[in-house]
Structures are given as C-alpha cells and as structure tokens.
C-alpha cells in the first residue's frame, strides 16, 4: 500500500490539516442525523491554467496517505469512530490529461466523512496537477532534446511543497531534480553541480591534503593535479590570447578540489569572476589535466549574463581547444545554464542552433508564476442517491449534478475529440456509433461518432481498500507524454489554444435543465 511506502505523505495529511468549517459542518451533519447519508463529491477545476487548453492530473497517489482507517482521537469526541472504510474513490490516472469540469476525483461515502476529506484532497491534488502541467508546458517549449533540471526547492512554500514540485515536475516531463529527498522518497533522478560559494571559498593559497590523483585506468603513478593544471593553464592561455595571471587562482583551486573529489564527474561553474577571462580557462586547464589521466569533464554551468550568447562562445572555444590539443571529447562537453529562466527565456535557449544542453529551472517551475493556483474545487453532486446542484446566480460557479461517468472520445487516427460526462446509470458510449451530446456552454446539441471510447475514471479505492497497485512515477511520466502527443496541435499550443470540448449527455443536460427550472419559482 502506498501509505506504508510513504510515511512522509501520511504524516503530512493529518486529521487536523483541514479548514475549521469542515469541523463545524461535521457537527452540523451529525446533529441533523445525517452523518451517514450516502454522498458523492467531485474534485475538478473550472478553467485550464496558464491560459492553455489542458492540464495533467497528478497527486492522486497521495490519496492513500490520507485514507488511513484511523483518525486522531483528539478530533472531537463524536468523530472517534470515524474511518474511511466506506469511502470509494474513482480518479483520472496519474499523468492523464484533465479538462475543465471533468472530475479528477469522485469520492463517495458517508456524508460527514467525504465532507471532511475536502480540504486535504484539494491541498494535495491541486498543486501537484498544477506543477505537472507547468512542467509539461516547459517541456513542450524546450523540445525533446534539452535536458531539464528542476532546482526550485529553495523557492517552494516549504519542504513538502518542494518535494511535490520535484516529483510532479518530473512527471510533467523534466529529466531530474536537485532535491535529494525527492530522489530518496520518490525515485526522481537527482543532479547537481556546485555553487558560487564553493568557488569563492578558495583563495588559491590553500594546500590540499592530498593533491595526487591516479589515472582513470587505475594503472600507473598518480600525478599532482594542481601542478598539472598549472602547466595546462599556460598552454590554454597562450591559445586563447590571455595572460596566465588573468584566471583567478582561487577559482582554479576550487576546480582542482572538485576534480579531486569527483574526477569522473568534474563540472565547472564558470561565472564567479569572469567567464571568458577566468572561469573558462580554469575549467579548460583542469579538464585537460584530468584528460591526460583518462578522465573526461562532464559539464560547465553558467548562472548569469546572456546565457545563449555565452554558450555559443564557449562551444566555439571548446571546438578550437579540442582541435588544438587533439581532445575531441571536449567539443561536446554539455553546457548547462540557469538564472531565473521563464517560458520566454526557455524558448530563446531552445531555439535552433542553441549550444545549451541542460537547463536548470527553479522559481518558474515551482511557483508557477503565470498562475500559482489551479483553483480546483470539490463539490457535492449527490446525497442519498439524489442529485445535488449548486445553482447560485454566478453561472460559472454552478455545478453539474448527479453521480457521473466520464469518457474520452477519440478519432480513427487516435486523436482526442472530446470528453463526455453522463449519468452513471447511462449505457457506455460505443465506438462507431453516433452520439448526441451538449457541448458545455453551447445552445444546441451536436453529434459525434467516436472511433474509440475510453473510460476516464478508474476505481482506485473501494470501501477504503486500494484496488490495484498504483503505477510508478516513471509510468505516469510516460503516460503524460503519450497523452500530450494525442492532443491536437491546436489544443496543445501554449498561446491562445483552441479549447478542448467537454460535453454532457442528453440525459445529464436534461437533469441540469430540470434542476435549474425547479429552482426558479
């Protein structure tokens, strides 16, 4: 069970993690003798985030951690006997495309219990889906080749915000995270280099306790890497037309120290002093010294200035130095960049001909600055088998009543046509048969003949028990990429996309109309 695998999630979602009105309503239901009325809620959003036309469903796996069969005994005396043994949950699979009004979760069970679940479910699912969607957008902008590193832990709303961001940005299409805990708990590949503080902590006068490094092949005598780097520095400076005093000795000492610790994974952070006059020649000197011993540097990183332009220049230097000293591997050392990269900057870095290989993104993926909240809601749709609808005078806030089923209709080429919501008791739409539906917001019905019909909501918890093993994070990540590829370009594009259609069955539309009329005197 996921709850046992994930004590983090379990600890995070405790009974008191809720809004006070859930507790007051609980008492109200109980006093009214309605605590055990059968009820169903749906969790959905009303508008796609970021001005786009899709979202990815995520965070559902956390569910297992909020449905333990025991609750805090201190939480009101009359809640003592409560558990989730009668709660059933259907959900969009992790990594599915999600559209406005289509439930990400359907939760049914005793009224008081499923009401209490509102706040923790919203808290756990909304941000996970938002950050997965945000990451998917960044992946679409970057294209399939660039490596995307999430490094936003320090910009999150705290430790579990950071953990969620790292997990679901990976699901949405990132390659790795700097967050070690996400690696340990969620299996996200982790990656990292070094900070400016490491570089600036060295003045150059330090004496390493052991400057000797053995060759990569393990045979032959060790060499003094600092001395070797000094020799290479002179050659590199001569080639680049720089004075040998120009590169900062502390930066070089830092690189040597890092290389001694990680000879097979040496990377240089180039912009602590001056990229061209210091960081780059120092990196080359240490890399060429390592190269003589059979090691290959694995990357450089830039964290300021014009990243694209500098990457082009660095690649050019790599090429000439590779030719000059006959070290062809140097040509293709990956160039990583970071520094408040947003969607616009990413598009620039991903353009044709860019020499940038790895892009580190923190703030923009974690905080979702274009829209920092998905705005999911959790609404009552049925009690005691009777449909319920919030009518309100604000049409956008009206809800769709009744226990429902949801289907995705696909064309013969596998592309997505629309999602259809219908009452749970209606027959499943059949592939190849014409279907008459009411697109949301339309005044007229339309007909559609799907080549395939996919049920959207999967039973994941039945009466408190997990129905089948949850997919791995990597499987959900693959589903997200597959789903996005099935979406037509008009819906997938990030600026002014066509809105994907969600339609109601004729019977559901009739129910909505009858409840609206019933409420108008």
């Amino acid at each position: 069970m996921a709850a046992e695998q994930d004590p983090e999630g379990r600890a995070a979602a405790r009974p008191l993690l809720t809004d006070l009105y859930q507790a007051t309503m609980a008492l109200g239901y109980w006093r009214a003798g309605r605590a055990r009325d059968a009820a169903e809620f749906e969790l959905f959003f009303r508008r796609c985030p970021f001005g786009g036309a899709f979202a990815l469903a995520a965070g559902v796996q956390f569910l297992a951690s909020v449905l333990p069969p025991d609750t805090d005994p201190a939480f009101f005396e009359h809640l003592r006997a409560l558990d989730c043994s009668e709660v059933t949950v259907r959900a969009l699979p992790e990594g599915s495309l999600a559209f406005p009004g289509v439930p990400l979760l359907q939760v049914s069970g005793p009224l008081l219990v499923v009401q209490l679940l509102e706040t923790p479910l919203l808290c756990l699912v909304s941000y996970a889906s938002l950050v997965a969607t945000n990451a998917a957008r960044l992946r679409l902008i970057a294209g399939p080749e660039k490596r995307l590193l999430e490094m936003g832990l320090r910009r999150a709303q705290g430790p579990d915000g950071g953990l969620t961001a790292s997990t679901y940005s990976y699901l949405g299409g990132f390659d790795s995270s700097s967050n070690v805990l996400a690696g340990q708990l969620r299996g996200v590949p982790v990656a990292g280099t070094l900070a400016h503080s490491f570089v600036t902590s060295f003045s150059g006068s330090e004496l390493p306790p052991d400057p000797m490094l053995a060759p990569a092949a393990g045979e032959g005598p060790g060499v003094d890497l600092a001395a070797k780097a000094q020799v290479w520095l002179e050659r590199v400076c001569a080639h680049l037309g720089l004075g040998v005093q120009e590169p900062h000795p502390g930066e070089r000492a830092a690189f040597v120290a890092y290389a001694l610790a990680f000879p097979r994974a040496f990377q240089g952070l180039l912009d602590s002093y001056s990229v061209r006059r210091s960081g780059l020649p120092n990196f080359l000197a240490v890399s060429l010294a390592l190269g003589e011993l059979g090691y290959r540097a694995v990357g450089v990183r830039l964290d300021s200035g014009d990243l694209l332009q500098q990457a082009q220049e660095i690649r050019q230097v790599f090429r000439t130095v590779a030719a000059q000293f006959q070290v062809p591997w140097l040509e293709s050392v990956p160039i990583a960049v970071s520094n408040n990269i947003d969607e616009e900057a990413l598009a620039q870095l991903a353009q044709e001909g860019s020499e940038v290989n790895v892009i580190g993104i923190g703030t923009s993926v974690v905080t979702c600055p274009q829209q920092p909240s998905l705005g999911c809601v959790y609404k009552l749709v049925a009690v005691g088998g009777q449909p319920r609808m919030k009518l309100t005078e604000d049409p956008e806030k009206q809800t769709l009543p009744g226990s429902k089923a949801a289907f995705r209709l696909l064309g013969s080429d596998g592309s997505l046509l629309m999602d259809v919501l219908q009452l749970a008791e209606e027959p499943v739409p059949r592939a190849g048969q014409e279907l008459r539906v009411w697109p949301r917001g339309a005044q007229e019905p339309c007909t559609v003949r799907p080549a395939q019909v996919e049920p959207l909501l999967q039973l994941c918890l039945q009466r408190g028990q997990l129905c089948e093993p949850l997919p791995s994070l990597a499987e959900s990540r693959a589903l997200a990429q597959l789903s996005l590829s099935q979406l037509s370009p008009a819906h997938r594009r990030l600026q002014s996309p066509a809105q994907y259609q969600v339609a109601l069955s004729e019977r559901l539309q009739a129910l909505v109309d009858s409840l609206r009329v019933g409420a108008s005197p």
Copy 2:
C-alpha cells in the same frame, strides 16, 4: 526549545531536504581538507517583493528545527560526525522590516556545515517572509478595522506550505485562519463557517432527530426550531414582499441544522441559490427564531457576485427588519465575503462606507500571485576570517564581502532613516553623531546624523544553543505592525514607493572597491 515544541518543523527539515550540489560540494570541501574552515554566510534578498519598498522578516523560528545536534547517519559516511554544535546564527527578529541586501540571517561555523544549511534555510525562511509581507500589504489596504481571515490551505503547495501561510499571514496582520492545524501547532486564531455543500446536501424533506432547542438562558421549555423558523419565514417574506414558497426549503433546513448544532454561533452562507430571494429570508427566519430564544446570529457570508453591492443591500435589509421586528442586534450582524479577492478587490471592499466586516482571502494571500517567490539568496561572505566576494560580471549578483554588523538609523521623531551595513569590527554608530556612508548604488557618500541607532541582527543561536526564548507569534505580529508604523508613508505605500536606503560604511565600501580592483587585471 522550539525544536521540541515543534516536531512538525523538525520532521520537515531533514538532512536529505537539500539540493544535491550541497552534498557534492561537501565532498569537495572534505577532499580539500577544508571542511572545518571557519566560514560565514548571509541570507538576504536583492529586491523588495511586489514592487513595494519593504519586506517582513519571518520564518527564523523554524531554524531551531533544522539545527538538531544529530544528522541522518545514512547521509554519506564522512558526514557521520557532523553536528551544528559550532554553528552561530544572528537574525533579524521575527516580524522586523527587512530591506534588500540586509542579512535576514548570518550563519557562521565550519565551512562544510554552514554550506549544507543553505537549501533548508532558504526553503524555510523565504516563503515565510514573502507571505508575511504579502499579508502586511493586504492589511495596509484593508485598514485596521476589517477582519481578515486567511483561508488558503487548499491553494497552498501542500500541507506545510499551508501551515506556513496560515502562521505568517497572521504575523503579517491577518486576524485568523481557517487552518485548524495552524491553530493547534502555532496558536493562530481559527475561524470558519460552512460550505455550499452543507447547504445543498439538504432538500428540506429530512427530519432532524431532535428539532428541539432550549432557550439561551437555559430556563423554560425547548421549542421546535424548524417550526419556529417557518413562522418567522412568513413574517419576513411578507415584510420583504416575497412569496413564502420562494426561499429554498433545503437551504432553510440546512440553516436550522447548523443552528441546532451552533445556537450561539449561527452563521448563514447566503448564495447557494439566490441571496435575495432565498438565502437572506431563510437566514432571517432562522435568526429571528433563534433570537426569540435569546440567541444572536454571528454572521452571514457571501461567496459570489458583486460582494460590495450585496453587502450594502443586506445591511439595509438588516436595518429595516431590525426596526420592523424590534431586534436591534440584527443591524450589526457581521457580513463576511470571499471569492478570489485580490489587492484590487480588497481596496474596493475596504472603501469608505462599505458594509463588509470580514474578508476571507485564500489564493491571493497564500500564492502571492504578484510575485510568488522572494528570491532570497545565501552567500559566502568570509572564510578563515578573510572576506569573500562573488564578483561576477552581472553587477546585481555581486555580493557584499566580510563579516558584517547592521544598524537601523532613526530620526528624532522615531521614523526610519536608513539601514547601515559595516564591518563587524567597526565601532557602533552613535546617536547624535554625524556618520559618513555610501548609499548602495550611489557614486558619492552622504552624511547622516541619527537620533537613535538600533542594532538589527540579534544573536539567536550560539554554538548550536538557543540564546534566549523565542518571541511568541503574537509578539512578532505586534512587532510587525509597530515596525510598519515607523516606516514613512513614502516607503510604506504599495504602488511606486520610494526605495528605502541601505548604505555601506566607508570601510565596507573601501573593502568592496579593493576586492573589485584586485579582481581586475
């Protein structure tokens, strides 16, 4: 110790909650024999958030939870012996005003250890300070009279994001939170009403197990509240010119159920069907029935539509009904509103003559949509007693070198003049004496004669031990309001404020200049 009071915080900030590069750098320092070099880092931000001219320091109390004297034994073999027994921390007191470049934290101790603290400190302090600042802005907009309720748990990046938001929005000036856990763990006053699902879950045909309610004074026979409300409904509808069938019977049943559960704290959510034709008359009927028994309703809530306009109309109805039925208390029943309220909407709701009393804000306070990250950084300023500076070609990213002291200079009227950073060994500026300083970014020095001088950074952990008890959340909240009142209106205003001056002492400026020159060949 706060760590013992706060197992939440402690659990959140575990050793693996870090960026991978901290671990790789740790190995680099260790391999270079520099793990125990004395080092000092500063945590600060470069620009005030939200286009304003101030921020509030917050989140420092979490520190105690990240400095336990034991670390995870699985975290690399050579880290086994690490602890924070040699770490010293100075900090801006919780709730202080903070300005760009002035350290929120100074952390000194062994290089490897204080490097490892970077990510968790940034993760814990940045968002806390951001949300406190955001809440302070909202309080300035709302003015002192309106009650502000934070209700954004469901919009946070997860459980601890929500807990942080609730805690620090209270510090920044909110009155209460919906988050029950914040009440339990942090002592934030909690408040809440009811959701639309509670209202729509009733059809009106339910029979409460016990509809009888005893009078508030506890003497005399109980009455059937539902029946009594029905009698009052007829009078109210006649007074308001409504048909007695118009108010929704399910909504009324929900109000009766809530009133039976909370006779002394009855509140109505008015917009599930129609405020004017249903919610308001139902609320009045139940309130007047309760009033007959000696109870007074405590509020109504609106969650859609034109909130200001509806509040004016509701207050007017309260007044005429109060006069008609001689229940003067009804006139002043608080009106609470919510629905995606941002700074602009808040300004409208807080305008002169508004009848809104309580404003519930979720998304806008928790996600800080104008700027969802404060952008704090943690930079090395000294190693082995020697100043360190990140020079870089991007002037905004240059750091201020050396172990520093910080002072706030005040005028004779108690208003804030400027903050001054100087080297730790310099004499403290004296009140009444002229001081020559370099405002940041200025080409010339200026002189200032402060009437008062306040040291800014307080020793809070010395060699791993908390120096004195941390202030309570309420004390920090009071400090924040006091500090804001000392800021001149030009700096306090939220749109296009004058930037508050931060200046360097002549010796610090000279050090910066000499390190810049030293780096330029």
